[in-house]
Each structure stands twice: as structure tokens, then as C-alpha cells.
Subunit: 197 residues, 2 copies
DNA sequence: TGTACATCAGTGAACGCGCGTTCACTGATGTAC
DNA sequence: TGTACATCAGTGAACGCGCGTTCACTGATGTAC
């Protein structure tokens, strides 16, 4: 197969529906990121995955970096939705906190490629975006919110808790041969220590 | 400058001293990794940095992956030495634990590129090496040793503590725009919670 | 002491590849008249 | 209702680049005799 040849299966969008390709591109990029590190993700590979020629991506993204950023935003939105859902299904305030933490870790362990994009990749590095507008801001706010009824100092506790959870997920992903205990056990022990009743 | 042209400054090693180049290569690779992610580190860039032609690297490493592994081993050895030194200069058992933690975090924050290689890169992924022979094993053992006099269950506590420290370092590196408190403050709070007196 | 020779520490050119990006273009389709 | 036309959603070829790896080689140097 030729490098920039579109897949035969695809037919082009109708007039006025060109924006659909944008969504397809972001989805395809996310799909590829489950298998390979973000640094290795090429624009041409994404085009191939969509079934479109490489220059077609330029209709929707000025460059590779912009595409990666779009993927980042979408994945952050998904994770935020997942933890929000989990919290919504939980019972009392302590259950809600635990649900947040478990859902966060599960997402990371089930989608290590995406987790890395969100929290360990240069794709997330942007000095021109103010803190409150970073895609992860809503997620952090939701941790603060769920921690608030349980804490006299939610800001301080959120930082430590986030670090703890991230540490568990990140190390598990990056050191898979280490004999890790089950994630829920670790989360429970972390919570017992960091947010004592 | 041509891609594979050696730098004019360098003169070749004397007969019998070819092994010196190996050390130069590993050092040069480590130097480059302070500036760019390991996935982007090319064999040719390392050769250029050493001042040697690209094929010269094959005299000492079968492929790019083997070179990365050598860098990994050397950096793990350095970090292990740093924390061991710090512990050696500390006072009582609690001081020793704190010294370990602070030295670990300092290394990560001062050498983010190297820290990523050690704990967040595919370079570290190897299924063929048994756990006890991984380059990070000695480091983990030293954490266990320093935790032992303070804990009835050092294994369990080491996992949580390692995760907490890694979380602090990794998030700081990857989310630099977040308003992080000073690292020693975070380490102290983490220790207070995870290893209560 | 002299010299032939083996070995060592590399070099230089070349290979095929995939990459990001640009440019001019094309064919289908909706729309104005 | 018919048709000219503008626009839309892309395509195809090409560019220059750096990459990992291979191959045959070269010149200096230590060593055996």
C-alpha cells in the first residue's frame, strides 16, 4: 500500500459536512495512541488510519501539534466524564471520593496510551495557555469538589492525593513487571492515610 | 555540516582503548536526553554529539535499543548513588528516610529528561529481564532498607511511598504550570501521612 | 634492530524508508438566476 | 425546470530531510620473528 493513498472503503463527506472528517481524525489518532507512544504518532499514520490522504489533515489542523492538542482535549473530556459519572453513582461523601479515585486509576490502567498522553507527554506542554483553561482543569476541580466535604484543607490534600494516584497509575504502566497489589487495595490504603476519617 | 561527518576535534583512540568510545557514547546520549525526549533521540544525533561517524556506534551496541538500555543502567546507578550518599550523610533513622526521599525528588526535578528515561519511557520496557536484575532494583532495595527500622510492614509502605514520590516528581515535570508548593514541603507532608511517627 | 603482518578503531558512501508540509489540481454538489 | 457557476472536500505528486543499518574500506599501531 502506498504511503499517502486513501483507503478504498471511504467515500468523501457530502458538501457542508466536511467537519465530520475532523472528528474522524481525532478518533483515529486516539485509536493509534492506544498502541504507540505519542512521540511516534505521525500525521501520515493518522491519515492512513482514517483512510484519507495526508494533506487532508491540513484542512482541519494547521500542524501535527494542533492535532495532538485536539486529541488531548477530547481525552481529558472523556476522563472527566468518567469520574463524574462514577461519583454520581456513589453514595455518601466518602464513597464519592473513593469512586473518583478508583475511576481515575481504572481509566489509566485500561487506557495506558491515553493516560500517557494526558499526563506524561510533551503534547500537553503549552506555556501559552493559562492554567484555568488547560484541558485538565475541570478534572482537577472535580477532585477538589469531591474532597471538600471531607477536608478542612482540600487544596493541600488534593495535591497529595492526585500525586499519589498518579504515582500508582504511572508506575504501574511504566514498571509492569513489578509485583503490584490490586489497584483498589492501594487506593484504599492511600485514602486511609491521606484522608483519614 | 554533513550528517555523518565526525567532528574535526576528535582523534581516534589508541589501539586497545576502543572501549573508551563506549563510555563517550553513553555520556553523549545522556547529555542529549537532558534536552529531548528519549523517543526522539536518534543514533545519528548521538554520533554527532560524540564527534564520530554513525556506524561507529555499532562497534559497541548492536542497535539503538541497546544504547538506550546502557544509558538507562548508568542513570539508575547514578540515582542510586545519589540517594545512598544522601542517606549516609543523614542522622537518625527518620532523617535517613527523609534524606532518601528528598534526594530522589531533587534528582527528578533537576534532571527531568533523565528521570523520564528511568520511569516514563519505553526504553525501560523489557520483558526478558527478571525483576531482580532490572537496573532500578537496587534503588528500590535501598528504599526498603531505609524504611525498615521505621515500619512494621516496609514492603507495603514502600509501594505507597514510592508512588507518592514518583507522583510528585512526575506531575511537576509534566504539569509545570500548576502552582506547586515547594517540594520539601510536599515530601514532609507525604511522609507525615504515609509513615507516621 | 628491522620489517612484515595482523589487528584495531574507526570512516564514507549508500540503501530504502517514512516523515511534515506545499502546491496545483479535480470532481461532485449545492445554489442563483 | 435548466444550467452556469462557485464552493466544498478532498487528491496526487513532489520537496527535502533525517533516520537505522549495511558494506567494503583504510590508515595507524602494536607484535612476532
Amino acid at each position: 500500500m502506498q504511503a499517502s493513498a486513501p483507503q478504498p472503503g471511504r467515500q468523501r463527506n457530502r458538501r457542508g459536512e466536511g467537519e465530520r472528517l475532523r472528528a474522524e481524525i481525532v478518533t483515529a489518532a486516539a485509536r493509534l495512541l492506544t498502541q504507540q507512544p505519542s512521540e511516534a504518532l505521525s500525521l501520515r499514520a493518522v491519515a492512513r488510519e482514517v483512510g484519507v490522504s495526508a494533506p487532508a489533515l491540513y484542512l482541519h489542523f494547521p500542524d501535527r501539534r494542533a492535532l495532538m492538542w485536539a486529541v488531548l482535549e477530547e481525552r481529558f473530556a472523556e476522563l472527566t466524564m468518567i469520574v463524574t459519572d462514577a461519583v454520581g453513582r456513589a453514595g455518601d461523601t466518602r464513597d464519592r471520593l473513593r469512586a473518583w479515585c478508583v475511576a481515575y486509576c481504572r481509566f489509566g490502567l485500561e487506557h495506558p496510551g491515553h493516560y500517557r498522553v494526558l499526563f506524561e507527554s510533551w503534547a500537553a506542554e503549552r506555556t501559552d495557555v493559562p492554567l484555568a483553561e488547560l484541558p485538565g482543569h475541570g478534572l482537577y476541580q472535580s477532585l477538589l469538589a469531591v474532597l471538600e466535604p471531607l477536608s478542612t484543607n482540600p487544596e493541600d490534600q488534593a495535591v497529595l492525593l492526585w500525586a499519589g494516584l498518579h504515582g500508582l497509575v504511572s508506575l504501574r504502566i511504566n514498571k509492569p513487571s513489578f509485583p503490584w497489589p490490586p489497584i483498589t487495595e492501594l487506593v484504599d490504603r492511600l485514602l486511609r492515610h491521606l484522608v483519614p476519617i
